[in-house]
């Protein structure tokens, strides 16, 4: 396959991924790695082809620090009676690459280590991303640090994946000229790619593409290839329409550029609209979900969806508890003193068994080992279900928003988290997954629209799902439902009060059954009996606050249900 004619969209996403893989293996130190999204035969074939060109070491998801960085192999040391070092995976993968499956679930701690290794040029990284939700993805700190992101979810091909070697060398390709750099920078700007790393990767990619084809300078097709492979997958906004493009970037000369090309004389052959061509090239490989998320008015950026820092493990940190027998692996720490203490009573016996030839001062066995245990306070997540329908919200939505913000401000001081579900019209939506970020929450809240029917059952179900996933991660959840309780949309989205009320009762019962704490706050101007009935069905408490402003609301909710006092 050739790299010419890159302006045309590739027939299958696999082709671009193969191209990226060829670039990557041609200079792993420069490109640092790739993210391959979407499982399937195409990806497997590509990984197999990669393995033929570069040493790949598998990185298991449960790898611990010792295995990653190297250290003392405890079991071997004990049986040998002298310290035995084991090399870490990062060291072993030197000159090759580590390959991580299910990278979207990678632990933040491991990602931190790997990010550092990438910065130091110790290794390269292939991340296999099996995320099913567009919000999920490998830790950003890693996808940011590797050059290529290829989405193979839509790939229908798998045959004939071969990584043809490059015709030339990257080092022999001339540095990009001003016009090329400018075009890349303008394209990155148009696509909303802020990171300088991505821009630098794009420049190197253009040169490496030239090297693949055996050219000594990067031409237009190389530049558009670089945009497609590096910049487009990172796009956070759609490029402006072609007609609007020129005013976006004044530096490249507008249509009559061939004439007033006075500033850079060496780029005479440059066509006037290079960056336009590049933006056009990018459009073919902008992630499909970008458009969808833009339409929904969500932040296009994939936020820290990997949950770095959010999931809390016990067993490794927190308040120390007693030690218990076990091997220090999987992140558990050795309780040295306890281990020694366990070994001491046996010394006389063991020494007799071992005979005089064993001169080590302490004879330890595997069964002496103790690991430390920790108690970590379960973080509490308060889930707000906000009724943004016409009946409840028209007047009071602003107060509800204010109260949520205030509680959030308090929550982040007390290290608890807040999530927000809004329901209106015929849908309920998780607007804010459990977070401590005030900035993010504020942005989400300011975009919360009001009006429409009251699909209370849908809202309750959505809130329950969030609560259940929170509980599944070992944290405690509490619901605060801000509504007037006057449901008029049924669970299937159809209008009608009787059905809506019945569905609401079912949804409420489900919440009560899972034992989730609930508080119903009626903030409508004239609270009716519905709110109290709902609270009753939920097995929770009820609060009517017809005249409360945001601050009063917060205080009242606090009084009933202190947020952030960790369970």
């Amino acid at each position: 396959m050739t790299v010419e004619g890159l302006g045309a969209p590739p027939a299958d996403p696999l082709e671009d991924a193969v191209l990226a893989a060829r670039l990557f293996v041609s200079a792993p130190q420069v490109f640092k790695g790739m993210v391959l999204r979407g499982p399937g035969p195409g990806r497997e074939a590509l990984v197999a082809a990669l393995a033929e060109n570069i040493a790949l070491r598998r990185l298991p998801g449960h790898v611990d620090d010792e295995r990653l960085l190297g250290g003392i192999d405890l079991a071997a040391s004990l049986s040998a009676g002298r310290p035995i070092r084991q090399t870490g995976l990062i060291e072993e993968a030197q000159g090759g690459a580590l390959i991580a499956g299910m990278a979207e679930r990678m632990d933040g701690a491991i990602a931190g280590r790997l990010g550092q290794a990438l910065d130091e040029g110790a290794t390269a990284l292939v991340l296999l991303d099996d995320a099913s939700e567009p919000e999920e993805g490998p830790p950003q700190s890693l996808s940011e640090r590797v050059a290529f992101i290829a989405d193979l979810s839509a790939s229908r091909r798998w045959q004939g994946v071969e990584l043809a070697p490059a015709a030339g060398h990257l080092a022999d390709v001339a540095p990009l000229d001003d016009a090329a750099l400018r075009a890349l920078a303008a394209t990155a700007e148009a696509l909303g790619v802020d990171s300088l790393r991505a821009l630098i990767f794009a420049g190197e990619t253009a040169r490496a593409l030239a090297a693949l084809g055996g050219r000594d300078t990067a031409d237009k097709s190389d530049l558009s290839g670089a945009v497609r492979l590096v910049l487009a997958p990172r796009a956070t906004r759609l490029p402006p329409q072609q007609q609007d493009a020129p005013p976006e970037e004044p530096p490249p000369p507008p249509p009559d550029g061939e004439r007033d090309d006075q500033s850079n004389s060496e780029q005479q052959q440059q066509e006037p609209d290079l960056s336009e061509i590049l933006v056009e090239a990018a459009k073919t490989s902008i992630p499909a979900d970008l458009l969808a998320s833009l339409v929904q008015g969500k932040a296009p950026r994939r936020s820290s969806s990997s949950g770095t820092g959010q999931k809390r493990k016990a067993a490794t940190r927190g308040k120390p508890l007693g030690a218990r027998p076990g091997m220090p692996r999987g992140g558990a720490k050795l309780a040295l003193i306890d281990s020694l203490r366990a070994a001491v009573p046996w010394q006389a016996v063991r020494r007799r068994e071992a005979g005089a030839n064993d001169t080590s001062s302490i004879l330890m066995r595997k069964e002496d080992l103790r690991i430390r245990r920790f108690e970590e306070r379960a973080a509490r997540v308060t889930i707000f279900a906000v009724d943004a329908s016409g009946s409840a919200a028209a007047a009071r939505l602003a107060e509800a928003k204010g109260a949520v913000e205030l509680m959030l401000a308090q929550a982040y001081v007390t290290r608890s988290e807040v999530a927000l579900v809004a329901f209106r019209g015929t849908t309920a939506e998780l607007l804010l997954p459990p977070t401590r970020s005030l900035t993010r929450a504020r942005r989400t809240l300011s975009q919360l629209p009001g009006g429409g029917g009251t699909p209370l059952a849908l809202g309750l179900n959505a809130a329950r799902e969030v609560a259940e996933s929170v509980i599944a991660r070992g944290r405690s959840a509490a619901l605060v439902i801000l509504t007037d309780g006057r449901a008029n949309i049924a669970a299937d989205g159809s209008p009608g009060r009787p059905q809506a009320a019945a569905d609401t009762a079912v949804a409420a019962k489900a919440i009560a059954a899972s034992g989730i704490d609930a508080l119903v706050v009626d903030i409508s101007a004239r609270p009716g009996p519905e709110g109290a009935a709902l609270a009753n069905a939920l097995g929770g408490r009820f609060l009517a606050l017809p005249r409360a402003d945001a601050r009063m609301l917060q205080q009242a909710i606090n009084a009933v249900q202190p947020i952030g006092r960790a369970a």
Partner: protein, 333 residues
């Protein structure tokens, strides 16, 4: 991108200034950098560390002790003779465990000889240098507490696993993070001396320049470093002069009043704001080679010194920087 000449960094003037101020007067406390990924935060921090002249440290000492340290901590660093070593720059990864940070029982020696020895951690390594923590907002809270505590006291006290060790650990803490991904508690933020918001350079020309410089550096790191050596040297001289000048500079009564008024006007909690503001203004004056600390220095540094100390009013959308500038305009016109 390991080493990049400090003077060759483009478009990060605020961050460079803050780092230099911290280099002139390390007692200011750490620098907190808010910003997105790929904006050159770690490049700048690393570059500064490699720019600074080598320090004299006891040979073989795991803590890199100076002469004074040797006198203060005779039990930990012995009497080795002084040799030159580079200013340490420790990049602390997110997943670091407490053991690795503060140090722990030396497992190897404990196993081999049953000996209770201390294996120094990252804090020991960072002594007299920089401790850089990317994504500090995602770091476990108890670790951040610990770090700031050590940074403030300049000493790491270990009392665990039957160990009782006290060793010097003076470093400039540089934290970075994106507030969208989780925020630091205000109590912790307050303990950073300076804070700044780093954005990716939006100007196309700047971005092109950066791409060029990076490409040049990649193609020929040694030649590139040589080309910037002179400019780096000039910065180094400025820092050295600033350090020498610092003790001679003191802030007058008027300036203290200005600082107090400003802190009151913006509603910065606690005394730390005023203290840092004064110190930073003084360090800035020293860095600029000024004869005295003036209101100009105070105003120039106020956003960095106070930005992260304002009490949050979540219902007020106005950014902290804007509130400070407004207060400055109101007070000093």
């Amino acid at each position: 991108m390991a080493r990049f000449p400090f003077s060759a960094i483009v478009g990060q003037d605020d961050m460079q200034q803050a780092l230099l101020i911290a280099a002139v007067d390390p007692s200011i406390g750490g620098v907190m950098v808010f910003g997105d990924r790929g904006t050159g935060k770690s490049t700048a921090a690393r570059a500064l560390a490699s720019l600074l002249p080598p320090i004299l440290a006891a040979e073989g000492c795991p803590y890199g002790c100076s002469k004074e340290d040797q006198a203060r901590y005779p039990d930990v660093c012995g009497t080795g003779k002084m040799v030159k070593r580079a200013v340490p720059f420790v990049d602390m990864p997110l997943g670091s465990t407490e053991d690795r940070v503060i140090g722990s029982l030396d497992l190897e020696r404990a196993l081999r000889s049953g000996e209770k020895a201390f294996e120094p951690g990252l804090l020991a390594k960072a002594h007299r240098g920089f401790l850089y923590i990317d994504e500090i907002n995602l770091l476990e809270d108890h670790l951040v507490d610990l770090l700031l505590d050590v940074a403030a006291s300049g000493e790491n006290v270990v009392e665990r696993e039957g160990l009782s060790v006290r060793h010097p650990a003076k470093f400039v803490l540089i934290g970075s993070g994106n507030p969208e991904e989780g925020e630091l508690r205000p109590q912790l933020l307050d303990r950073f001396g300076l804070s700044l918001e780093v954005r990716t350079p939006k100007d196309i020309e700047v971005r092109i320049t950066i791409m060029k410089l990076v490409a040049e550096n990649e193609a020929d790191p040694e030649g590139f470093a040589a080309r910037w050596a002179e400019a780096d040297d000039a910065i180094l001289k400025r820092v050295a002069k600033g350090k020498a000048r610092l003790p001679k500079l003191s802030a007058g009564e008027d300036l203290l009043r200005d600082a107090a008024n400003l802190c009151l006007a913006v509603g910065a909690d606690g005394l730390r704001g005023e203290l840092t503001l004064m110190r930073a203004a003084r360090a800035l004056a020293a860095l600029e080679g000024a004869k005295s600390v003036t209101r100009k220095h105070l105003i120039a540094i106020a956003p960095s010194a106070l930005r992260h100390r304002l009490r949050r009013d979540v219902l007020d959308e106005t950014g902290s920087t804007v509130r400070i500038t407004r207060a400055i305009d109101g007070l000093f016109g």
